[in-house]
């Protein structure tokens, strides 16, 4: 009997053990962290994917610099899913997915970067300098994320270590606290990076491209002295210069050969996959794939100087209405270089936005509802192919010059170098320097306020469609004004009356300078405090 009991006990145990084994099933596709982080190549892939997923993916319609102006008075973004339209027209609240998308995208990459930076010593490398470079680039990307987050939300969690479920819910730090740590850290990272652009991966941060980004944020956060200092340092490095032709920079003529792009989304940044700027920005044309996702608005068109460098409502040559009805009349050449408008030839056909039979008819979903299109980054060579191979600037030398000028103007120290910076940009743009030279006597009496208006407009024109405008209207605190105007398009005379296409009403509330945290983020991170007014 005893034997039987033992036998059945043994049977039962083996049966249960068998069961346990039978139930032990794990995902065959799963790997562990240690299986993946092996060699130098994995360090490179980590840098690559950290850029690709947030900054350099050709399909990242919410993040591509040339789409970003869809959040501003420069342009209209026709697809809500790209997360620009609602931010521009104000129809958002703390449930709008854009805020979850951006917050999670940047924050989860920070979490991932923290893990990689902490473990950067693990993969095998032949040359320790390689490890130092990749680690530095990862740290630079981490700084960039934080600059961006702080400028959108103000106070955010600030954490530089790998986080588990517990430590991932950090109490946010204030903007000042974070910046006090971030700026010196970023400059330190930059000083340790190689000074020259890499032969193959121009998209990876080097010393000056990171300094350019830091300079930008010094300017955004009103630290003009530091902004001017870094701008000067980049100028003095003599590594970069303005390209001779403004228009060529944004087409295949010079996108890869100029010395102006300091920080570039090159083909290597997305593994040589096709770029989509034509598809995203161009009109639907025959069998081409133009989608008109982001199109310029009247507000931007009217911004362009006259050829003499004056505003159109302050021009001795023509009235404002004349310029409105014929935007090409006597204008800054950058207008033609940047914008397609009705009457222009697109590929081989004149643009006619008022013919319902034409695919460019303004009411068609894939046409421009303003009647204008961007020409920057739209090269007709891409018209009938499925993708392009264009390089895009995250930062170019003209911005450094304009930053120096603006930083000096803001300190009310409009020195010769500041004026020269403006003149360099204007001259290259093709303005009539007989009138537009800011060293001319008519500018001598300019008040600081007049200089501010000039540099702001200059910056808007020069960098139109490159993703700088949203930060500018936020930091200049003018969004309340410019984003409370309806989005308008082409203007023409109908039966003796001036008629302007209207796309939508827009609203910007005084609290909108900071974004709301999404309700989901507030639930997940109980320490977050909702920004004012949401």
């Amino acid at each position: 009997m005893k034997k039987l009991v033992y036998a059945s006990l043994i049977c039962a145990t083996t049966a249960l053990a068998g069961c346990e084994k039978f139930l032990d099933k794990t995902d065959p596709t799963a790997t562990r962290f240690s299986e993946f982080f092996n060699t130098e190549e994995d360090l490179r892939r980590v840098v690559y994917s950290s850029m690709l997923d947030v900054f350099s993916g050709p399909g990242l319609t919410a993040k591509l610099p040339y789409m970003e102006d869809g959040k501003t008075d420069n342009a209209y973004s026709r697809s809500e899913g790209h997360h620009h339209q609602l931010i521009a027209n104000g129809n958002f609240n703390s449930n709008t997915t854009a805020f979850l998308y951006y917050y999670e995208l940047h924050m989860k990459h920070l979490g991932r970067l923290n893990v990689f930076i902490a473990n950067a010593d693990i993969p095998y490398v032949e040359d320790e300098a390689v490890r130092a470079k990749y680690k530095g680039v990862l740290e630079a990307i981490r700084c960039w994320h934080y600059f961006w987050l702080v400028s959108r939300w103000g106070s955010v969690p600030y954490y530089l270590e790998p986080a588990d479920l517990g430590s991932a819910t950090q109490t946010p730090k204030s903007q000042e606290e974070i910046l006090a740590d971030l700026f010196p850290m970023a400059e330190n990272v930059a000083n340790n990076l190689p000074p020259d652009e890499y032969t193959s991966d121009a998209y990876m941060f080097n010393r000056y491209s990171l300094k350019g980004i830091i300079m930008r944020y010094y300017l955004y956060f009103g630290r003009y002295e530091d902004a001017a200092r870094l701008a000067k340092e980049i100028m003095d490095s003599k590594k970069y210069s303005l390209h001779a032709s403004y228009a060529d920079l944004f087409s295949y003529k010079a996108d890869k050969t100029n010395k102006e792009f300091i920080f570039t989304m090159d083909m290597a940044s997305h593994g040589n996959s096709a770029t989509n700027s034509f598809q995203h920005l161009a009109p639907q044309y025959r069998t081409g794939n133009g989608q008109s996702f982001v199109v310029p608005l009247k507000s931007l068109i009217d911004t362009y100087w006259t050829l003499q460098g004056d505003a159109i409502d302050n021009s001795p040559q023509h009235t404002k209405e004349e310029y409105e009805l014929n935007p090409k009349l006597n204008r800054d050449p950058r207008l033609t270089a940047s914008i397609y408008m009705p009457g222009d030839m697109f590929a081989t056909e004149p643009i006619n936005i008022y013919d319902p039979n034409n695919p460019m008819y303004f009411e068609r979903p894939r046409a421009s509802r303003s009647g204008y299109w961007f020409r920057k980054f739209v090269d007709p060579a891409d018209a009938f192919r499925s993708g392009g191979n264009m390089h895009f600037p995250y930062l170019r030398y003209a911005e450094v010059l304009l930053t120096y000028a603006e930083a000096k103007i803001m300190q009310n120290q409009v020195d010769a170098l500041a004026k020269q910076c403006i003149n360099d940009v204007r001259r290259r743009a093709g303005l009539d320097m007989a009138h537009a030279d800011v060293t001319l006597p008519k500018y001598a009496a300019y008040t600081q306020q007049q200089w501010i208006e000039l540099i702001r407009n200059e910056r808007r024109i020069e960098l139109a469609g490159e993703g700088r405008r949203y930060d500018d209207i936020i930091r200049w605190r003018i969004a309340e004004k410019v984003l409370n105007e309806p989005a308008l398009g082409h203007t023409r005379m109908v039966n003796g009356e001036k008629v302007t296409l209207k796309i939508e009403d827009r609203a910007f509330r005084p609290n909108n300078y900071l974004w709301p945290f999404h309700e989901n983020s507030l639930k997940v991170e109980p320490g977050l405090r909702q920004n004012e007014g949401y």
Partner: protein, 970 residues
């Protein structure tokens, strides 16, 4: 060891079979003693058989003394008699067929209805099989209390809707577990004509036997088997024509243009259409296009034919069932065909040993448009056109064939004609072997090995087609696309061992049923995914003096889907019943017929649910170094505690039967596999699978049925009423937590709301004019007169998330059904009416909004005529709907404006039939019937189809009118 003993005893039995022969004689008679000529007498497990003579006598040689005779005759119940040393065996057969309703298939065992203590419902299969149902799910509408089936679609080749038993208690797949002949399958896999019985296990005590997924309820299906001694062929065939019942009526071309202008003018934009072009459209000079008419090119038809060849002899029975279901869509491409074959056999290997060997295979072919391959896409395309848009360019003189106009690059008519075809193929095959060995009369041992394999593939073909614009220039080319692909194949292997004991105790006063067993299941996918489950279970029914019944169930389940150390769940339950009608003090009432049956039941139990994806707990790092989801080592079963109290009463000489149940299901440790985690964890999906949340479902079910006979006229009328209230108790780790859903922001969880709900704004009319807009502080940006005025619940002057409230739930409440059966001589007439007393529906998508809210231009499509008639205009201030708009609008938030009463009453079925008892000698039971499904609906619902919420266009719901024929040959 156990197996070895079993196996050897099996061998012994087989050896014994070859003993000496013996002759038996006797007489077959009916219950009055009258002889039955032509009765079949068979020796079980052999080919030996004779027929009784005109005087009912027979003589048969049996191989040995252990033989069992099977005596059968048409119109009588089968009987089995052991030889056991006798040489003269007189057999009396009872008239009529065995009353199936007396036995309940409980999962792994059958129990007499009167000995059941838990909540079990059976479908009236006679009614389900005499009506033309293409898919078995449809049979659940309005037929079983507590079971709802919201029919969402009539799309060929698709599942018509989801069945829910006693409400929803999970965030995961809430489909009930379906067991077909002991195999876990889906209802879609079986033709209604092949089904013998359907049992629904509703409470914990009954479903506990299926611990692993019992929490959603269990549906047990048994398929038809052959009958000994009766060879017959059954034919059941019907042909139906379908008519759409929910087509929207959009405004005509001229009205569309006027409303578009109206919206644009209100929005300060220039009107698009000139008076001149509107006049042209109004006069018909330019035709107004009804796009739905354009894409609905023909009537949808369907047909179903089932042929069943069955019979049996001493060696066993067989039933071969062949089915062909054909559904054609609304154009020449869409449709589906399903071929199925089921071969069920009972093989009497020895007198005590029977093997049930069943084979089933089906092939489902679904034909769809390549351009819109989900079947609904074509209709959503048609919805986003407007009547002023033309299908073709008017005569341009360009001589282009099929000169389609593309609107936003689309043209649904071109999608049909030139968009190509896509064909899906789904193959299922199963083998199901169930050996059963009767050790003694009371004790048997049963094994079950079943194997199911599914395969599916798709292929598509599109030929090159070029589109030109109005000027004859090329605009788009649909390139040649021809290819095929195979999908992941799944195989499911189940093995099970059962021991059943049924016996009488205390001299037949008490009865005991005992079942115990173990089972192992394994799913293997061709992409290396694998799931395993192992279970041990036991069930005891004890009937004390036929008055008190105890039912105890226990099941231990292990599932590979959960984290190690959390894989096993233990699910016990118990039920008690009291057969009051068997008490002596009620005997006078029973004898007089005033009470025929009175039973009270109560049950309580714990069951589990593991219906989730595998590997959710694991740490998974992909090749780019992403941790895909945060691992959770505590991930385990969803659990549910449920009590149930029920009452059954049959009274007035079996004419009136009543049933009532109340229940409460408390589900806890609910699995949310998308529980958000903080982004700084750096994981890819920022999700973790956790056991979180608690939900209560409570409800009642009442049913009543009256049946009687007046001369040749028989009738029965039945009705049922049931409701379920659903309430979240906990939505997170703490009682105060709220849970929001990334993929659906119009829903929230906090204690007190229903598991699915409408979380939105309350409205207070519409802004009257600009002055009203200006003076209202709490409003959304860009508000215009005629827009919805949302209520600022907390009065803080801002309309934001804090102003959203629970606006109700989308579940059907106060479900009721009535059914009526009339018979007069050979005529029969039946009606099933089904209704929902209270449901809040959402006028989602274009059923509500005047434009397609697509997050892009928000300007496509046209308003419904109903919207146009009830829209806000400065002159019509107290309107039902806000102003017409296009583009971005503040009106599209979920608010009570877009909710509407979706209660309804619908004649699910109206049927008239006539039966010819005999045609010639070979054809019997010929029944011809006409049937209308879903033909008449009464509702105040402002959307299109009250059984589903609105959307942006789907394949229409249909009423089906059919003609059927049923006959038995031989």
């Amino acid at each position: 060891m156990k197996y070895f003993i079993l196996l050897s005893s099996l061998m012994l039995c087989l050896l014994q079979a070859s003993a000496q022969q013996k002759t038996i004689s006797g007489r077959v008679a009916d219950s009055t003693g009258a002889p039955i000529p032509g009765a079949t007498v068979l020796v079980k497990g052999t080919n030996i058989g004779v027929a009784s003579g005109p005087d009912g006598t027979y003589e048969i040689k049996v191989p040995n003394d252990n033989a069992i005779l099977i005596v059968t005759s048409i119109g009588f119940q089968d009987r089995e008699v052991s030889v056991k040393g006798q040489s003269i065996i007189n057999v009396r057969l009872l008239q009529g067929t065995r009353d199936l309703s007396g036995v309940v298939v409980m999962g792994f065992s059958t129990v007499e209805r009167r000995h059941v203590a838990s909540s079990v419902a059976q479908m009236d299969m006679k009614q389900a099989k005499t009506r033309p149902i293409a898919k078995l799910q449809e049979a659940f509408s309005g037929t079983i209390p507590g079971v709802t089936m919201q029919q969402a679609t009539n799309l060929p080749g698709s599942v018509p809707g989801t069945i829910s038993i006693r409400g929803i208690s999970t965030l995961q797949n809430a489909d009930p577990l379906v067991i077909i002949d002991g195999m876990e399958m889906s209802l879609t896999d079986v033709d209604p004509n092949q089904v013998k019985s359907i049992t629904v296990l509703k409470d914990a005590a009954s479903a506990a036997m299926y611990g692993s997924r019992g929490a959603n309820g269990v549906i047990i299906v048994e398929t038809e088997r052959g009958v000994t001694g009766k060879f017959k062929v059954d034919l059941n065939s019907w042909y139906g024509i379908s008519k759409p019942i929910d087509l929207p009526k959009f405004v005509n071309g001229a009205d569309y243009m006027r409303l578009n202008n109206e919206a644009r003018i209100m929005q300060g934009q220039t009107p698009t259409f000139t008076e001149d072009s509107i006049a042209k459209m109004a006069s018909g000079q330019i035709p107004s296009v009804n796009w739905l008419d354009e894409v609905i090119q023909k009537n949808a038809t369907s047909s179903n034919t089932t042929l069943s060849v069955s019979g049996g002899g001493g060696v066993g029975t067989f039933n071969l069932m062949l089915g062909y279901l054909n559904e054609n869509g609304l154009n020449n491409i869409e449709g589906s065909q399903k071929f199925s074959a089921r071969f069920n056999t009972n093989i009497n290997i020895a007198d005590k040993f029977v093997l049930l060997a069943d084979f089933y295979a089906h092939r489902l072919q679904v034909d769809r448009l390549y351009a819109n391959d989900d079947g609904d896409g074509l209709y959503s395309l048609a919805w986003r056109m407007n009547a002023s848009q033309q299908v073709y360019y008017p005569n341009t003189g360009l001589n282009i064939d099929e000169h389609y106009q593309l609107h936003n690059n689309l043209n649904p008519v071109a999608s049909i004609n030139r968009g190509g075809t896509k064909n899906y193929l789904h193959d299922w095959s199963t083998i199901n072997l169930r050996p059963k060995y009767h050790i003694t009369k009371n004790l048997n041992i049963e094994g079950n090995v079943s194997y199911l394999i599914t395969k599916s593939a798709e292929k598509w073909e599109r030929r090159t087609f070029k589109f030109y614009d109005g000027n004859g220039k090329p605009v788009t080319t649909w390139g040649n696309a021809v290819d095929a692909t195979q999908n992941v194949s799944r195989s499911q292997l189940t093995s099970r061992l059962l021991v059943n004991y049924t016996g009488n105790l205390r001299g037949s006063k008490d009865k005991i049923y005992f079942t115990t067993g173990a089972e192992a299941m394994n799913w293997t996918y061709s992409n290396f995914t694998e799931i395993s489950k192992a279970s041990f279970f036991g069930k005891l029914n004890y009937s004390f003096d036929n008055r008190y019944i105890l039912e105890v169930t226990a099941r231990g389940d292990g599932s590979s889907k959960f984290a190690p150390n959390n894989r096993w769940g233990f699910f016990p339950s118990a039920a008690l019943a009291w057969n009051a009608s068997n008490e002596s003090f009620l005997q006078p009432l029973v004898k007089s017929g005033a009470i025929n049956n009175l039973k009270f039941r109560a049950s309580y139990g714990l069951i589990g649910n593991e219906n989730v994806d595998p590997y959710l707990w694991e740490e998974i790092v992909n090749t780019w170094g992403w941790t895909m989801r945060m691992p959770n080592p505590n991930f385990s079963w969803e659990k549910q505690k449920q009590w149930n109290v029920g009452m059954e009463l049959t009274t007035l000489n079996n004419r009136l039967s009543l049933g009532a149940e109340v229940y409460k299901k408390h589900s806890f440790d609910l699995i949310y596999d998308k529980f958000p985690v903080p982004p700084l964890t750096g994981s890819y999906y920022l999700e973790s699978a956790v056991n979180i949340g608690e939900v209560n479902n409570k409800g009642f079910e009442i049913s009543a049925n009256w049946s009687d006979k007046i001369g040749d006229f028989t009738y029965s009328i039945g009705g049922m009423l049931f409701d379920n209230k659903n309430e979240v108790l906990k939505a997170g780790y703490k009682a105060t937590d709220t849970l929001i859903f990334k993929d659906n922001t119009d829903k929230i969880w906090y204690p007190g709301v229903a598991i699915d709900n409408y979380y939105g704004y309350q409205s207070n009319g519409y802004f009257r004019d600009q002055e009203d807009v200006d003076k209202t502080v709490a409003k959304l940006p860009n508000t215009l007169p005629g827009d919805i005025k949302y209520i600022d619940q907390n009065g803080d002057g801002v309309i934001n998330n804090l102003d959203r409230v629970n606006l109700g739930d989308p579940f059907p409440h106060m479900n009721y059904a009535v059914n009526l059966n009339l018979g007069y001589k050979r005529w029969d007439f039946a009606v099933i009416g089904q209704g929902v007393g209270k449901r809040t529906g959402r006028l989602g998508g274009m059923e509500g909004y005047p434009v397609l809210v697509d997050g892009a231009t928000n300007a496509l499509g046209a308003p419904r005529q109903y919207y146009a008639d009830n829209r806000w205009t400065p002159e019509n201030q107290n309107s039902r709907f806000p102003r017409v708009w296009n583009g971005a609008s503040t009106n599209t938030y979920l608010s009570d404006v877009w909710l509407s009463n979706a209660s309804f009453f619908r004649f699910k079925m109206i049927q008239l039939g006539y039966t010819f008892p005999k045609i010639g000698t070979a054809i019997r039971n010929v029944r011809v019937y006409v049937n209308a499904q879903d033909a008449i609906t009464f509702t105040k619902w402002e959307g299109l189809e009250p059984e589903r919420n609105g959307g942006n266009g789907r394949y229409p719901r249909m009423a089906v009118f059919s003609l059927g024929l049923k006959a038995t040959f031989f």
